[in-house]
Symmetry: C2
């Protein structure tokens, strides 16, 4: 066996192992919930002995907290499309596409987030009260501006945002139910496109932001 690769430094070993553990933890927390997840399951999926997890993350809760924080960062990035858009058709349309893509690519993360919020956010309540509040206020202001400019009907911006979150995340959080109703098969490319198109069509027409009627 040729020894071409340089042996990893301790720092690289740590980074790689932390990555592997976080990836496994996200899946296990998503499938079993915080209470149902065990360090043993995470260790098995990561291919490491259980004790090593405690070497990299002191407690189960610390590991969970890292997982949730990473997911929250991804959430916020999806909103970039929102701000630079000239109007709701482009802005909300791009936001729906971005959130649907996250639901498709990272369903586990979405489930962990949903579970955390459903259990009254014991770990990330501070994020909800600071970052999420600011983010929501900012996006509501953008929507209100579009309304004032006559680019869409006077819809309550807050409930419109909730509708966007609910609809897009549903495809991740309730993915199993959707698969069951699709004869047990995951949605195809075409079906994902149909979902995106239907959502955008209903919402954009529903807020009077398109000339469909």
């Amino acid at each position: 066996m040729p020894q071409t690769a340089r042996p990893l430094s301790k720092k690289e070993i740590r980074q790689e192992n932390e990555r592997v553990i976080l990836e496994a933890a996200e899946k296990v927390f998503a499938e079993a919930g915080f209470g149902g997840a065990t360090m043993q399951l995470i260790a098995d999926l990561a291919g490491l002995p259980k004790a090593n997890l405690h070497y990299y993350f002191p407690t189960k809760e610390a590991l969970y907290r890292e997982v949730v924080q990473k997911i929250f960062q991804n959430w916020l990035k999806a909103a970039d499309a929102f701000d630079e858009a000239p109007g709701p058709v482009e802005g909300i349309g791009a936001y729906i596409d971005a959130k649907m893509e996250i639901s498709r690519q990272h369903p586990a993360g979405s489930k962990v987030w949903a579970s955390e919020v459903m259990h009254r956010a014991p770990v990330i309540q501070d994020y909800l009260e600071t970052t999420l509040v600011e983010w929501t206020d900012g996006r509501m202001a953008v929507i209100q501006r579009w309304i004032d400019e006559g680019k869409m009907d006077p819809i309550d911006p807050r409930h419109l945002l909730y509708m966007l979150w609910a609809t897009t995340q549903h495809y991740a959080d309730f993915g199993h139910q959707i698969e069951t109703l699709n004869d047990g098969a995951a949605l195809s490319d075409a079906q994902w496109e149909a979902a995106k198109a239907t959502i955008k069509s209903i919402i954009l027409a529903g807020i009077g932001a398109t000339g469909r009627h």
Copy 2:
């Protein structure tokens, strides 16, 4: 202390205790998840010793199964409004009202259902494959009929249904997030009405079922 009331029969004791236990279990399962819930927590909330729970329900899983089944029955009843309606404005409008009312009155049940589905429905997969499939097919047929009769635009009925579920259940499942974004307070009567009105306005206009434009 006057002994006016007749002592309860054994049958009545059983019925009453089962009711109290199921009510407590729904709350605890909703707040902690199946894995995070303990029989001790349920017993304390029900005001009974832990051992009594095992007398009425043999295992934790059997108790959980009862809880989920009861919730599913409630889900289905909300759809009655759907079938008897002459068109989408009445049918979908009433369905949104009914589902929002469930989210408000029984948020714990909604969370238990969401949690069960997120974890790949280990307990009620058979219900998904039979009852839910039939229910969904029936409702899709109703929507398709409305489309054929020209009462609404040709929207993909399946994704419209998912949108209705997602949007209405969001107010229960993510109620904690919504409260946090409402300065920590539960939604008032007026805010619930605003939510219902916004959702109905967007969706009914979005499917071309109202003359708002």
